[in-house]
Amino acid sequence: MVEIRSPSVRRGWSESVRARASEIVKQYPDPRSAVMPLLYLAMAEEGYLTDNGMREVAGAVGLTPAQVRAVASFYTMYKRENPGRYLISCCTSISCMLLGSDEVLGAIEDESDVAAGETDPEGLISVEHVECIGACGGAPAVTVNYELIEGMTTEKARELVRWLRAARPEAIVGAECQELFGGRRSFDWGPFDRDSALGPYPAFGPLGTVSGPAGEQDG
């Protein structure tokens, strides 16, 4: 479940976000190690990574903004531009490519009229091609707001785009999308767990970047 807020024009983080940031920093022996989870925090805060967000992260971990931006710009999943409400990421790494991801991506671009790397004018759909998303067994695979759909076909991809446009779901749930548009799965992904596979920043759920400070989501 992804909550993407509209970008704020605030000059800096609020005290509560800063407190959460310092909570995360404390989990590492060296503050600079917290740069990646804090970038997710910054992204969650403003919807995407702004210069302001990166400056805040730099301040929190004791790096310069240039160093933080170096990390942020290396990884494609840190968005430095505001993505649409639904971000469709099509894997074009080798397994998916061999099984037709180029066609899938083409179909998504054609149906949505959004080229890879861009967002439609109303800010609803963004399309991108990404490197391996770890679903080679279910190739070709796409994610919508980081929720995985495996065994894609060109027809299903077009249906997916039409459904997003028409239904405008409040939240994207991987299992539901797989049911509606997916094909052969690599293996059973297990039960719904909002802090693991389903968050946009799964590994950092326990650190409080997903649903409040660490520990709150327990039980």
């Binding site: 210069d51 990166m54 790096l63 903004p65 240039a66 160093q67 170096a70 710009s73 290396f74 494609t76």
Partner: protein
């Protein structure tokens, strides 16, 4: 040192220190392995792949990067076989894929490692027919540095320098893969005091310096090695000129001092040399009170007559001299001899009332060398912010703390450049230094940790005046305390390029050339050559200025000194010069001080005169001449010699080299220090020892509180200021931070002011209006004002100021 190992390089056995990188061993043994990213003063990364060599392993030959492979005993290396050759060609072909062939318009061409190594090791042709990547070129990444990302080969030398060496990583690799580029954060320029070094170590023309861009071709440059005179570290530099104009300064890798690095002030602060404002003719004040051009004969006669009148009516002691710390030892010696032998006064000072006791500076017992920082167990820095005032020492201390594991205690009234590497940082309110020192001596409470750090010897203490509100006795008392720490050595800090040389030449009331004190045997020997030495005790800078104001001193000779701008109490200096009967100035510019003189002689300066200087550790280094002086300017010593001649005294000075010989003869500690040695086998300098053995005296320094309603003033220098050399260097003059009042957030709130709001800062001797900078690093109740900024009056060396919104 560990037992050396034997390595076979190209079928030749050589010995090497274990752990040393192969590329270094090869280079030291005459085998050059091509490289781009490896730099002997930085940690290896193995990024460019240019230094591939083949080593023998139990599983057959293996290709490794020689910059990341430590030597081991019995290693067999081949750097030239066909496999290696093929690899080198391949790497160069890859590096050239995106490198534009714009060598004809590139500043680096002719001295470009990529160009040279492509010629020597490259494939000759490329198979790449696709489009190269394109960037906007070139973009300014700071006021001083331009970046051409198309030329960049991503060796990371610049980014590693700024992280590892200078500690301000404002440039980093951005993006990924084929889009990787070096860049800054969008609105945070590469405003580093050391940015010029990245230009020097860039192996291509990606980084260029705005002061040098398109000024010359490397093959048209004439050059000579010299020593920087901006700070007292004695940085070795390479002066480069074309058509008699100084165009560029590069750092020379000299182990004892700068190790190849320079601050931007040193690297780019030479433009003043060719400033149109330089004096080209003597000036004499005419009957209407205006300075007008005069011939040398007229000006010398005028000055000799004016000084002669004062001497015959009030004696030599009514004359005083200030300056000499910005020139060579030879010029300082001439000044000392002129004042003592021709004029007959001991009132001379090369410090501008901003330094420490000269005996402490040049004669402290157990004086530290810069190299002691490398082996230090712990370091105490209690003085000026090294990054602002002693950039080379800043880099050396930083390296000691960051790479060599020394503990670091920094005591300063606000944030300093070393804070991020300090084990303990003590911030205090100016005036409370005595209190801080006694706490540190007790080692209790908040100081327990600092004492713990300083218990690890050998201890090196760098001590000076953190700001001008602080008593100079504090540094001496601290030096006395430091002697109780294990294996402690003290490095007293003082400003101005050759202040230590000037003190060694006797430009201080109590000292004579060769660190001799009056009344000693050495002084006796000096008198045999100089004639009778003045008996009266002299006055220091403050004494001289006060004497001029009150009339006790009637005439002043300035040699490269601008007391109105340089003395913390500039207003006192202004009054003193205004009240002086006669002021004779030897200067390169009409400064605020020389403007008030009766006679001004145009002097040659940096890159125009040959001579020696003495650095902060007593290391004598050679400065050399590359460009002619402007107009009719002459060297300081020649002016003084002629002036003495017109006063009827033959100083016996013939040339700078002859003076150097005279120094060698008369100053015992300078025995054996001559130009031949310094020009050839001892280009890194010769340390003169034979200290006074001055034992610092501990005195209780009372804590001073500002009066009620006042704030404590921290009044300290910044690297770029409104000194005449900076003001006349167009590349650096805009970089002065400008007048500002740094306040703690709580004080700003109390005064009801925010960032940028104007406040009035008033002291007993001056007042100024400055924009507020909210600075949490100062203690509440403290205001920090940078000293000598453009268009700002002086506040004086006071502790308390009134700050009003």
């Amino acid at each position: 040192m560990a037992e050396p190992v034997t390595v076979t390089i190209n079928r030749r056995a050589v010995s090497a220190q274990p752990g040393e990188m192969l590329i270094k061993t090869a280079q030291d043994n005459g085998v050059y392995i091509p490289r781009f990213c490896w730099h002997p003063r930085m940690n290896p990364v193995g990024m460019c792949r240019m230094c591939l060599v083949e080593i023998e392993t139990p599983r057959g030959p293996l290709m490794v990067t020689s910059c990341t492979t430590p030597v081991s005993d019995g290693m067999t290396v081949d750097t030239t076989n066909p496999t290696v050759k093929k690899a080198q060609e391949g790497v160069l072909e890859f590096l050239l894929i995106n490198h534009p062939l714009d060598c004809p318009v590139c500043d680096r061409a002719g001295e470009c490692p990529l160009q040279d190594q492509t010629m020597a090791y490259g494939p000759g042709e490329s198979r790449f027919v696709e489009e190269k990547r394109h960037f906007e070129k070139p973009i300014p990444i700071s006021e001083l540095v331009m970046l051409d990302r198309e030329r960049c080969i991503l060796c990371a030398r610049c980014t590693r320098f700024s992280e590892e060496i200078s500690g301000d990583p404002l440039i980093e690799f951005q993006e990924r893969g084929n889009y990787t580029e070096v860049n800054t954060f969008p609105d945070e320029p590469f405003r580093s005091y050391f940015s010029g070094n990245t230009v020097q170590i860039c192996p291509v023309g990606a980084l260029t310096a705005t002061p040098y861009r398109f000024r010359a071709r490397p093959w048209d440059l004439t050059f000579v090695e010299s020593t920087c005179q901006h700070c007292s570290s004695g940085d070795r530099i390479n002066l480069q000129s074309s058509q008699n104009r100084l165009l560029r300064i590069l750092g020379v890798d000299s182990e004892p001092t700068n190790q190849g690095w320079l601050s931007d002030k040193c690297r780019f602060g030479f433009e003043y040399v060719a400033s149109p404002a330089r004096l080209t003719s003597p000036l004499v004040r005419d009957s209407e009170g205006e300075l007008r051009e005069a011939s040398w004969g007229e000006a010398l006669d005028y000055a000799a007559r004016a000084l002669g009148e004062v001497i015959s009516s009030s004696g030599g002691r009514a004359v005083a001299g200030l300056g000499g710390a910005r020139g060579t030892n030879e010029d300082a010696y001439a000044f000392s001899k002129f004042l003592r032998a021709a004029v007959g006064t001991n009132s001379v000072d090369c410090q501008m009332d901003d330094g420490l006791d000269p005996r402490l500076l040049s004669g402290v017992v157990d004086r530290a060398r810069i190299a002691d920082l490398e082996s230090a167990g712990s370091i105490l820095v209690w003085g000026p912010d090294l990054k602002e005032e002693h950039p080379t020492l800043y880099l050396r201390v930083r390296r000691a703390a960051q790479e060599l594991g020394a503990g670091l205690v920094v005591v300063h009234p606000r944030a300093t450049g070393l804070d991020d590497r300090a084990s303990v940082k003590v911030t205090y309110r100016p005036g409370q230094g005595g209190q801080v020192l006694s706490e540190l001596m007790d080692g209790a409470g908040r100081m327990a940790e600092a004492r713990e750090v300083l218990s690890k010897g050998p201890v090196v203490a760098l001590l000076g005046r953190p700001g001008y509100g602080e008593s100079p006795d504090l540094a001496e008392a601290t030096a006395a305390f430091v002697r109780s720490l294990p294996d402690a050595r003290v490095m007293p800090l003082a400003r101005r390029g050759n202040v230590f040389g000037a003190l060694d030449m006797g430009l201080s009331p109590a000292l004579l050339p060769g660190r001799a004190q009056r009344g000693t045997l050495a002084a006796q020997m000096l008198a045999d050559r100089w004639g009778e030495l003045p008996a009266s005790s002299g006055r220091d800078c403050r004494g001289i200025l006060e004497g001029l104001e009150s009339g006790g001193i009637e005439a002043l000779v300035l040699m490269g000194a601008d007391p109105v701008r340089d003395v913390p109490d500039g207003e006192l200096a202004r009054r003193a010069l205004g009240n002086a009967g006669v002021v004779v100035a030897i200067d390169q510019f009409l400064t605020d001080s020389s403007r008030m003189a009766d006679v001004v002689f145009p002097a040659m300066g940096f890159s125009e005169v040959e001579g020696t200087v003495t650095n902060i550790e007593g290391r004598v280094l050679k400065v050399n001449r590359l460009t002619p002086g402007p107009g009719q300017s002459r060297p300081d010593w020649a002016i003084l010699s002629d002036l003495a001649g017109r006063m009827g005294v033959d100083l016996g000075l013939v040339s700078a080299q002859q003076i150097s010989g005279e120094i060698e003869e008369l100053a015992d500690i300078y025995r054996g220090v001559n130009w031949e040695r310094l020009d050839w086998e001892d280009r890194d300098g010769i340390v003169v020892s034979g200290d006074l053995g001055y034992v610092p005296v501990f005195s209780h320094v009372a804590s001073v509180d500002p009066r009620p309603g006042e704030m404590a003033l921290h009044y300290a220098r910044t690297m770029y200021d409104d000194g005449v050399m900076m003001r006349e260097s167009p590349s650096l003059s805009p970089l002065a931070p400008g007048c500002a009042a740094h306040l703690h957030p709580s004080d700003a709130a109390r005064l009801g002011v925010g960032e940028g709001d104007p406040v009035d800062v008033k002291s007993a001797s001056g007042s100024l209006r400055a924009g507020v900078v909210i600075d949490p690093s100062v203690e509440p109740g403290v205001v920090y004002v940078p000293f000598n900024q453009p268009d700002t009056p002086s506040l004086g060396s006071v502790l308390g100021v009134v700050v009003e919104s």
